[in-house]
Amino acid sequence: MQKSDLENANPTILNVSQLPSREQKRAIARHGPDSSYDHLLFSRESSSDTPSVSENDGRFEHVFDDALDQQEIYDLISTVSDPEHPHTLGELNVVRLPDIHLTPPQRDPRGLATVLVELTPTINHCSLATVIGLAVRFRLEQALPPNYRIDVRMKEGTHAQDEQVNKQLADKERVAAALENDSLQSVVNTMLKTCIV
């Protein structure tokens, strides 16, 4: 595609380090030149003070219960590529963490839940909004368990024809039909190539 053909030739791009991530929320670890031996000096939490049974060798110490949250949904879809720019939806700020809503917030792992993702197109007449919505929906359908109801919409006021687009995205049959279409399917697959598990 020629540069001049792009719908929005010059979108604002966020740096990868600016994107919201789980690491940012954790306490900042020491990483100066003086911390090179921290693992030898300070990491004896599990040695002689806590009883250790020889067969439990500390694997999975770091694993704790962590329910599916907005950040995880964000991580799943922010890596989807944009159909026309060599950037991800996260970098283009199409997908935003505050625009991901999970209901009910405290969930029973097997109970029903709803994920609502509101997308913000880079320009309000973006004709690719439906494709982007389709890819996000497809990605979530593949990655979430069946007890999650998925709702992908354009954020109110961000798209000239948001009602129409939302209607298309909410129509299960139209979505299924769209994914039967080979060319559309290949576009979506290309967009999902950048997704890590």
């Binding site: 003086d34 031996y37 030898l40 000096l41 002689s48 003070d49 009883p51 999975f60 694993v63 962590d66």
Partner: protein, 1173 residues
């Protein structure tokens, strides 16, 4: 005659090179045997006559018919001439007489006029041979060049290899002094022959030939005094090739574009005669602006630099062009954006300054350099005030001024003055930042100039001695401190960036040295300034402790890192600064309450402690005179001593109650540990590992020496220094030995204190840390040194002194045995032999089953690790204290007995047995790592124990994997004896015989299940190649384990399941075909296990009222999904289709697993199965 004719004919008819060479050799031999008589040589030459006459007629035809010569005859003729050339090649060089050589030169030379098609290759070859003959005379060389030049246009029609031969001939001739003088005699200074050569070769394109052609040109320019016209012609020829590039080719020829560029550059810089041509040419190319690519620009700049450096007599060759060069080059930096171009430009400017300065032996008149530096200064001064160009202008100025000492002396004061003036009226924060950056680079360059002063002209050093320092002295207060104070108050990100630069600048400023009149160097900054710098940096580094968590707003950590590096660089030259840092930090540490320290305080302590160690010990301080008058002599170990003493003084920070973790105390001890680690690394880096190893050897008994030292020896060292240490030079690897000695002293001190200290301070955690410190220090000592210090004895004596009997612990602290582990871990096996005498200390320890209460698990772990080391580093046999090699055998026998007893008769409490079994297994593991044969004797005991229907049998089965598990304490770094194939050995002796017993059809289902547990426990700790041969029976066991999970308590199958799944993952990635027949069992078993291991279903799998450990459940789920996810990648779709639907459903559900990491693997597996359709 007949012979030669026949041979010539044979040669012409032959198509194979070896045969041709043979014929030529025969002819050469014939000539040699005749002594090169006139007749024979004549006959030889005439032997090609039949082809030559035709050549003549061909030539005539050619005249008539244009290009159409007799094709076949050309080949024959070329071969005939090849016969002559080939003969010359093998002919004795001394044989032919001068007149014969003259004749032959004439004959072959004529070919270049008459026979352009057939004669050239052979003639070129022949001429090369003739040039090497003894009868060759210089005038023939001239003739050769003239003859070959007659080829003119047809030269380019020759093959590349023929041309290569001619180039080689030319190069040889023009480099030959005799030929060269003959040429100059004949042609005079004009060197007219070169014009013919240029015409001949001007169309050359072959890279290999070009390399020679450029070499020829460079020789002509450098060795022949060509006239201006000829020089111009030559330059025209070479410059046509500039810039040169090389098309990439499928068949590499061994010449790169870089070689070609270098060759052209050598032509440009061959002689200063070219200067009037090269500089205008190059600058004109450069001024084309955007039309020139970066690579070409760099080539131009490098060529300019080479010319400046190579041309002699700079007054006439370089000076007239400087202004032009400067005017073209300055824009490359001023407006340049590409790093490579900017760097290359700066190199050129530096080269000019160095050229104008003179040579190492002789300096040029200073006015040349001065006018150049003035020119640069004049152009850049105004730009310094313009924020857009500040950085570039500063870079230009700084580069030129610091090119050499003379330039530095000329302008440094006005440069610094100019920068300071701009600091007073900064246009923007970025302007300030750029100015600091320039000043920093200037200081860095100055540091290099002073450091390398002795390598240049003696006058340089003399000049530096008289350097005015006022402008430098004022930098701290005028510039750096001012900016620091202004910016530190508003720490926004822009100011932090500036502060980082200022920090770097402070370190550079503190490192500046000035040359004294006696040639020695001392610090530029006064002690007072250094102290002030130290205070600024220290304040920033201990901020975590001085402020509370609310006040210490998270600044950019990189700024603190910068301060850390700056302070380290300061304390390496100004040693009192470190004492100040330590004093400040310890005061802050003391002022906090550590009894109930918050995690913020503990983190702050952690940072400060490791910063203290890093700043003082990660480099070895250098001895630079400063203006402080200190009575004690400075030693490279001073900082290490200061830190250790300080930590020992503040320790303990708190006296915790029983059960608390006492992290603060542990972190304080970590300070010493960190100092040891950093200093050891600094020594290895500075003295090379080999020197460090050889300096860790000695035969002195340091422990005995320590006994005679006063108890407060370290404090005394800290306060007043020591003669031996004070005399150490930082470059002497002896520093390392003294470091080891001091470290051992510290270990001894800590061990003595700990073993007699109160239980509440010396908790298990701290003792463990102490043991690690001891292991670190002791393992770095050589074996002989360990023996002479009798460290093996100290493992049980804790350095208590000679009067105390070993093995009588002074303290009743339950974890005191950790200290034993520390010493033993670092010892060489050779240094431990005395422990193993029959009935001796090691045997007693290894067979001790008492005193495990009240911390059963912990005590057993400690004993197990010590037992493992003792069993591993055992050395028996004649000339040792265990000549019969029976000690370890008896120990293993003892434990065999214990296991046997516990699994046959009732009475041993399962909990106690678990602890004892842990010790036993680790001892056997130590012996198994060095493949001790006594381990084999235990195998029947293990088999019987596992097979026995006793509650303790399960414990034995489960723990068998310990024997092959990678151990924390058995590491080759710690001199453990680990045989290369010990795992294979253990597997084949221990696991292999169990397979028949473990099969589901074997007698006794529960015994078979325990055997399976044992096998899986061993296999899951081995790499795949160990059990590769047994994959088939193993897979059967795995499948049984996956599908049959009845009986036994929950905890056990869960552990066994995890092992089984781990092995399955390994087999899937290494040999998936072995699983092909079992896919159904794996998939359905896996799905079932996943379901059962979910937390909500735990009740169903719970038996005996005890839930499986949670981490096992998570691990099992994760591994199941790993196995299921890997299956589609390993097998064809036809095997997978039947399971696709049900698996996708199950994997869909597992994407909602409660654990995030498991969900991630579930998604991966789901993705893989989605592709199966």
């Amino acid at each position: 005659m007949a012979n030669f004719k026949d041979w010539a004919l044979q040669y012409v008819l032959s198509d194979e090179e070896p045969a041709q060479r043979e014929i030529a050799a025969k002819a050469a031999k014939e000539i040699e045997s005749s002594g090169a008589s006139r007749t024979v040589v004549g006959n030889w030459a005439a032997s090609v006559q039949p082809w030559m006459t035709r050549a003549q007629s061909d030539h005539d035809d050619q005249m008539d018919d244009g290009e159409d010569g007799g094709g076949g005859d050309i080949i024959a003729r070329a071969k005939a001439l090849g016969f002559l050339a080939g003969t010359l090649e093998t002919l004795d060089r001394k044989l032919l007489k001068t007149d014969q050589v003259v004749f032959l030169v004439g004959f072959f030379g004529a070919m270049f006029s008459y026979d352009h098609k057939a004669g050239i290759t052979a003639s070129a070859k022949a001429l090369r041979q003739l040039y090497a003959m003894k009868g060759f005379k210089p005038d023939m060389g001239v003739k050769m060049i003239e003859d070959v030049s007659k080829l003119k246009e047809d030269f380019r029609l020759q093959t590349a290899s023929t041309r290569l031969g001619i180039y080689e001939l030319f190069l040889g001739l023009i480099q030959d002094p005799a030929v060269s003088s003959e040429l100059q005699h004949k042609y005079g200074s004009s060197c007219g022959f070169t014009v013919d050569l240029l015409q001949l070769c001007q169309n050359e394109r072959d890279p290999r030939n070009l390399m020679l052609w450029f070499k020829i040109i460079a020789v002509l320019l450098a060795d022949y005094s060509t006239s201006t016209e000829v020089t111009e012609e030559i330059f025209k020829a070479v410059s046509a090739y500039f810039p040169i590039s090389l098309r990439s080719s499928a068949t590499p020829i061994g010449i790169t574009a870089k070689d070609l560029k270098g060759a052209v550059r050598a032509c440009f810089s061959a002689h200063q005669r070219l200067s009037t041509l090269t500089f205008p040419f190059l600058m004109q190319k450069l001024d084309q602006g955007d039309a020139v690519t970066v690579a070409v620009k760099v080539d131009i700049l490098k060529t300019t630099k080479a010319c400046i450096e190579q041309y002699e007599n700079p007054q006439t060759s370089v000076v007239p062009h400087i202004e032009k060069i400067w005017n073209s080059l300055k824009y490359e930096v001023r407006n340049g954006e590409v790093k490579e171009t900017i760097e290359a430009t700066l190199e050129v400017l530096q080269a000019i300054a160095n050229k104008l300065d003179g040579f190492k032996t002789q300096k040029l008149d200073v006015s040349l350099l001065k006018s150049y530096v003035d020119l640069v200064f004049k152009d850049c001064r105004d730009d310094l005030a313009n924020p857009t160009y500040t950085k570039q202008a500063g870079l230009l100025l700084m580069t030129v001024i610091t090119s050499n000492v003379r330039a530095y002396m000329l302008e440094s004061a006005s440069f610094v003055g100019c920068i300071r003036q701009n600091f007073r009226q900064p246009k923007s924060p970025s302007h300030t930042r750029d100015l600091v950056l320039i000043l920093n680079s200037f200081l860095k360059a100055r540091l290099e100039l002073v450091r390398n002063r002795s390598q240049g002209h003696p006058e340089d050093e003399k000049q530096l001695k008289t350097e005015p320092r006022v402008h430098l002295d004022a930098l701290f207060h005028d510039v750096y401190l001012g900016i620091w104070t202004a910016k530190a108050n508003e720490p926004n990100s822009e100011n932090i960036e500036i502060l980082k630069q200022v920090t770097q600048g402070l370190a550079l400023l503190a490192n500046q040295q000035v040359v004294q009149q006696d040639g020695s160097s001392s610090l530029l900054c006064s002690g007072k300034i250094c102290s002030e710098i130290c205070t600024l940096l220290t304040q920033c580094l201990v901020k975590g402790l001085t402020l509370s968590s609310n006040d210490n707003t998270a600044n950019d950590a990189t700024f603190e890192e910068e301060a850390l590096l700056a302070l380290r660089s300061l304390v390496m030259v100004y040693t009192p600064a470190y004492e100040e840092f330590v004093r400040r930090a310890t005061t802050e540490i003391r002022s906090r309450d550590w009894e109930n320290a918050s995690s913020y305080s503990l983190d702050a302590l952690k940072s400060v402690v490791s910063r203290l160690a890093f700043v003082g010990c990660s480099q070895i301080p250098s001895r630079v005179a400063s203006d402080t008058t200190s009575s004690k002599s400075l030693s490279p170990l001073q900082h290490f001593i200061t830190l250790t003493t300080a930590v020992l003084e503040i320790f303990p920070l708190s006296a915790p109650g029983p059960g608390t973790k006492a992290l603060a105390n542990s972190y304080a001890i970590a300070g010493i540990h960190a100092a040891l680690l950093f200093f050891r690394d600094a020594c290895t880096a500075k003295y090379q590992p080999e020197a460090v190893v050889s300096y860790s050897k000695s035969d002195k008994n340091w422990i005995e020496e320590f006994g005679q030292l006063p108890d407060d020896w370290l404090q005394k060292l800290q306060v007043s220094g020591d003669e031996t240490l004070g005399a150490l030079n930082e470059d002497d690897p002896e520093v390392y030995r003294q470091f080891l000695r001091l470290s051992l002293y510290v270990v001894r001190h800590l061990y003595r204190t700990a073993s007699s200290g109160t239980q509440s301070i010396w908790t298990g955690r701290i003792l463990g840390q102490l043991a690690d410190i001891a292991a670190l220090v002791i393992r770095n000592l050589g074996e002989q040194l360990q023996i002479s210090c009798n460290l093996a004895h100290e493992a049980f004596n804790f350095f208590a002194g000679p009067q105390t009997q070993p093995s009588k612990h002074i303290s009743t602290e339950p974890f005191i045995e950790l200290l034993t582990r520390g010493v033993l871990e670092g010892l060489w096996p050779g240094a431990m032999v005395n422990l193993y005498n029959p009935g001796g200390i090691a045997e007693k320890f290894l067979c001790n089953t008492d005193g495990l209460e009240p911390f059963l698990g912990l005590q057993s772990d400690i004993r197990a690790s010590i037992g493992s080391i003792l069993a591993n580093k055992y050395k028996g046999g004649p000339s040792t204290s265990d000549p019969e090699s029976q000690t370890v055998k008896r120990v293993l026998g003892f434990w065999g007995e214990q296991i046997n007893k516990a699994t046959t008769s009732d009475g041993t409490d399962p909990k106690i047995f678990q602890a004892l079994n842990n010790i036993a297994m680790h001892i056997v593991a130590g012996a198994a790592a060095r493949q001790d044969k006594a381990v084999i004797d235990l195998i029947p005991v293990f088999q019987a124990a596992i097979g026995s229907e006793h509650a303790n049998s399960e414990t034995v089965a489960r723990s068998l994997g310990t024997l092959v598990k990678d151990s924390e304490v058995l590491k080759t770094d710690n001199h453990a004896v680990i045989r290369r194939f010990n795992k294979q050995w253990a597997y084949s002796h221990l696991a292999k015989p169990l397979y028949p017993l473990a099969s589901p059809s074997a007698d006794g289902a529960s015994a078979a299940m325990r055997y399976r547990t044992a096998i899986l426990s061993i296999v899951s700790n081995c790499p795949f190649n160990v059990y590769e041969a047994d994959v088939e029976p193993l897979v059967r066991l795995l499948i049984t384990t996956l599908t049959d999970r009845s009986g036994l308590s929950q905890r056990v199958p869960s552990q066994r399941l995890v092992s089984a799944l781990e092995i399955l993952v390994e087999i899937l990635s290494n040999e998936p075909d072995a699983l092909k027949g079992h896919l159904k069992a794996i998939i359905s078993g896996g799905m079932k296990i996943y379901e059962e291991c979910l937390p909500e279903n735990q009740d169903e799998v719970k038996t005996g009222g005890k839930a499986a450990p949670r981490r096992n459940l998570v691990m099992a789920r994760k591994l199941v999904l790993q196995v299921l996810g890997a299956v589609p990648k390993k097998f064809e779709e036809r095997y997978l289709l039947p399971y696709s639907l049900q698996l996708q459903r199950m994997l869909g559900l597992s994407c909602g697993d409660p654990v995030r990491e498991v969900r991630q693997i579930a998604r991966f597996a789901r993705g893989n199965w989605l592709k199966v359709v």
